[in-house]
Symmetry: C2
Subunit: 257 residues, 2 copies
Amino acid sequence: MLENIVFIGAGNLATHLALALNNAGKKIIQVYSRTYSSASQLAIKVDAEPINDIKLLNKNADIYIVSVKDSAIEHIASNIKLNNKLIVHTSGSMPMEVLKEASDNYGVLYPLQTFSKNKNVDFHNVPICIETNNPANIEILKNLAEEISSNVREISFDKRRIIHLAAVFACNFTNNMYSVAEQLLIENDISFNILLPLINETAVKVFEDSPKKLQTGPAVRGDDSIISSHLKMLANHKDFKKIYKLLSDNIKKMNNK
Amino acid sequence: MLENIVFIGAGNLATHLALALNNAGKKIIQVYSRTYSSASQLAIKVDAEPINDIKLLNKNADIYIVSVKDSAIEHIASNIKLNNKLIVHTSGSMPMEVLKEASDNYGVLYPLQTFSKNKNVDFHNVPICIETNNPANIEILKNLAEEISSNVREISFDKRRIIHLAAVFACNFTNNMYSVAEQLLIENDISFNILLPLINETAVKVFEDSPKKLQTGPAVRGDDSIISSHLKMLANHKDFKKIYKLLSDNIKKMNNK
């Protein structure tokens, strides 16, 4: 059983994950961050020791969770020596081998979710993709992940990176579409909340059927007169106009195959 | 009170709207469609008379709801004479004046929602945008709309068309992002359902805060190494690669203002 956890990193993902594990009864014994204030901010929430000097890392934890930006993972791993202690990162796009300098036992615990400050996340349904270099660790890591989620899957790097790429479209780009809509409304003194039932229905629908089959709107109907009137309305928004054109063309191509 | 309704058009929107009005106790007396079979399909659900000859239009209804594709509305209106009977269309992008040949009393009843075959819609929260040429009709139309929705708003054409444009981004383009994600996953033998908790959370979040503030992902973090590795992964998907680039740039621009 992995009971004592050290977090390396104190950003949004680290914070939400540490809180969930703490709520599940796990002990977060230490939080490292480059700045003492950000280490403290998370540490105080989970009753852990904050540090900002990696040399002070507690070597007696059961697992080390590295949740920093992708480009920093390998550098951090090369600066710590954990012998055979289990170390995992939380990235969708990095192979687990970036951790190999730190320990002989490494892996990945990647929660597929979007984490914002000040917005609580219920981990119960969050898919957690796990992977370990040593097959003996997979059940151990799975047991830990299952303390917070009922949706834990062993996923190879090749698939994990595709899932992350797909998530950028389904989450980050989708949210950007909401932002464009919000800006168009604000400029015309219309409240964004008029779109909320539509946004909800669009998301809820894909729980029941394939999004490709559910596509609606001018592009899939081939209603070129609306499309050209919308493009005219976007004359002063060159970037939005390009997006409108590209995505309308993409809808036509994907749905007429 | 508008009790007896004729539907002109029998597509997805007409079907869902007719069902909702029927459930609210209104009488749909007739359904017109260009083909008898599609008129019948809707008519049988609401116990109405199906017709496919516009000359057979019942002239004794209280209101005529034209729910056909935008480019067909004016042509249909010019082929019917209703004197002073109220006629409305359901389009987000057409001015109400396209109906003026049909009657002296015209307007719009535009439900802001996405309607697919075989997917029931709860109208209760659906924003319904209404407009009438004759101020005396606005309360009458509002009362009808409030039979099915608690979110009825009088909205001018100038705003309605912006709302429709914003809805294309927030719904149609968002759904296309889901489709792209689905295709990337399917090609790699990964089930689309792994994304559902993320899709749900992305939508739910904007009920509480502005999407611009909630933006997450590599573009807003300025994580160019992930962006370039994602672009490499999309080498065989030229259209998806263009979309990835354009939307990542748009996120950077919108969030760094």
